[in-house]
C-alpha cells in the first residue's frame, strides 16, 4: 500500500483532468499530454490563484450595482414599483409567501455572498500556505462549487415575468439593470470557482515541493 501522505505530484505523477488516468510527467516547463485521452497535463491548474483573484475582484465590483440597482420594475394602472433584490424578497415575505421568500433569499443573497467570502478565504489561506483545517476548507470548496449555480434563480424568475407580463396598461414587468450585474456576478463567481485548484490547499502539508 502506498503511504497515505504522498501526493501524486510529489511522485512526479499527474492525474488527467479529463479521464483521471494517472501517468508520469516531466517538469511542468515542458508540455505533456495524457497517454490515454490526449488532454494537456499539468500538476496544478496553471495560473489558478491569479486568475481566480481577477475573476473574484470583478465579481465583488459588480456585486455592488447588483444589489443597489433595480432588479425588476412592475407597473400597472394603479401602481408602479421598482424592486431591488432585497426589496423583492421583503415584498414576498410581506405578501405571505414565506417559503418562496426564504428560497429567493438563499439563492440570491446568501449564496453569492457565501461564494465571494469563501473564495476569498480559500485564496488567502492558499497564498499564505496555511495548514489550517485543510479538510474543512476542501469541504467548503466543494460546497461553493455545488451551490453556485442556484443563484441563477432570480435571473430566470425575472426573465419569465418580464416576458409573460406584457399586458400594456393592465400590468407590465420589466427587467432592470441589476439583472445584468447580477447575472455577471453569477457567471464570474462560477468561473472563479472553476479556476481555483483545491489541491493547492493540501500542498503545504507535503514535504515534496512541486512548482
Amino acid at each position: 500500500m502506498t503511504e497515505l501522505t504522498t501526493s501524486a505530484a510529489g511522485q512526479g505523477l499527474c492525474s488527467c483532468h479529463v479521464c483521471n488516468l494517472v501517468s508520469r510527467r516531466g517538469p511542468e516547463s515542458s508540455p505533456a499530454y495524457c497517454p490515454r485521452c490526449g488532454a494537456f497535463l499539468h500538476f496544478r491548474k496553471p495560473g489558478s490563484v491569479a486568475r481566480c483573484w481577477a475573476l473574484l475582484v470583478a465579481a465583488y465590483i459588480l456585486y455592488i450595482p447588483a444589489n443597489l440597482l433595480t432588479m425588476m420594475e412592475t407597473g400597472s394602472l394603479f401602481s408602479y414599483r421598482r424592486d431591488t433584490i432585497i426589496s423583492g424578497v421583503i415584498e414576498l415575505w410581506k405578501t405571505g409567501s414565506w417559503v418562496i421568500a426564504v428560497i429567493v433569499f438563499i439563492a440570491s443573497v446568501t449564496i453569492p455572498l457565501l461564494k465571494l467570502l469563501s473564495l476569498t478565504l480559500l485564496l488567502i489561506s492558499v497564498q499564505r500556505r496555511s495548514r489550517w483545517h485543510p479538510r474543512q476548507r476542501t469541504r467548503l470548496y466543494r460546497l461553493v462549487e455545488f451551490v453556485g449555480r442556484w443563484s441563477m434563480l432570480d435571473i430566470y424568475v425575472v426573465t419569465l415575468l418580464a416576458a409573460l407580463v406584457q399586458l400594456g396598461t393592465i400590468a407590465t414587468v420589466k427587467a432592470g439593470p441589476a439583472a445584468l450585474a447580477f447575472g455577471a456576478v453569477v457567471v464570474l463567481t462560477m468561473f472563479a470557482s472553476m479556476q481555483f485548484d483545491p489541491r493547492l490547499i493540501w500542498d503545504p502539508l507535503q514535504k515534496e515541493r512541486t512548482q
Binding site: V18, S97, P134, L153, Y156, T159, A175
Partner: protein, 210 residues
Amino acid sequence: MAHYPAQLIACHDCDLLQREIPLKRGCAASCSRCGAVLYRNATDSIDRTLAYTLTAAVLFVIANMFPIFAIEVQESRSAITLAGAVRSLWDQQMQPISLLVFLTTILIPALELVTMTYLLLPLKFRRIPAGYTYILRMMQIVAPWGMIEVFMLGVLVSLVKLTSSFKVIPGVALWSFGGLTLLLAAAAASFSARDVWARLDRKPDAEVAA
C-alpha cells in the same frame, strides 16, 4: 495497458495518491484524506444513462415546443414558451441576459443530450464513436452550465409570484420541465466516466485510432 501505472488514482481535490479497490455494487470509494468521492460502482451505467438520456431528449423537445404557463386577465390571455421568453427579453434590450438564459437552458442542455447519446449509443453496441476524446472533454467543460433544475425552481417561484395577481394556467411544458429535471438528475447520477473509459480501453488500439 502496459504503460499506465496499474490502478493508481489521484484524488481530484487533494491529489492524494491511492490504490483502487474493488467495490460492491452501488458503493462509492471516497478519498481517505479529504473525503471526496473518487469513483463509484454504478450498475449498468451505460445502459441506464442512455435510457434516461433518450427519454430526457423526448421531454426536452416537448418542453421547448409548448407553453410553460399562461396568465388570464380580463379576457386577454398571455402564454409563454421558453424560446418566447428568450426572444422577448432580447427585444427588451436585455441581450446579455437573454443570451445567458438561452445558453444555460436551451443550447447547453441540448448539447449535453446530443453528446451523451453520440457517445453512449455506439458504446452500447461495442463500437467506438469517432472523436470520443473531444466529446468527453467538451462534456466536462459544458456540464456546469446546464441549469435546467435551477430554471425549474425559477418557474415555480414565478408561478407563486403570478398567482397573487393573475389567474395562472399551467401548460404542458411545465410538467415536461419537471420530468426533465428528474431525468437529467437520474442520468447524471447513473453516468460514470470511469466505465466509459474502461469500455474504451478494452478496444485494441487499431480500432481506437479511427
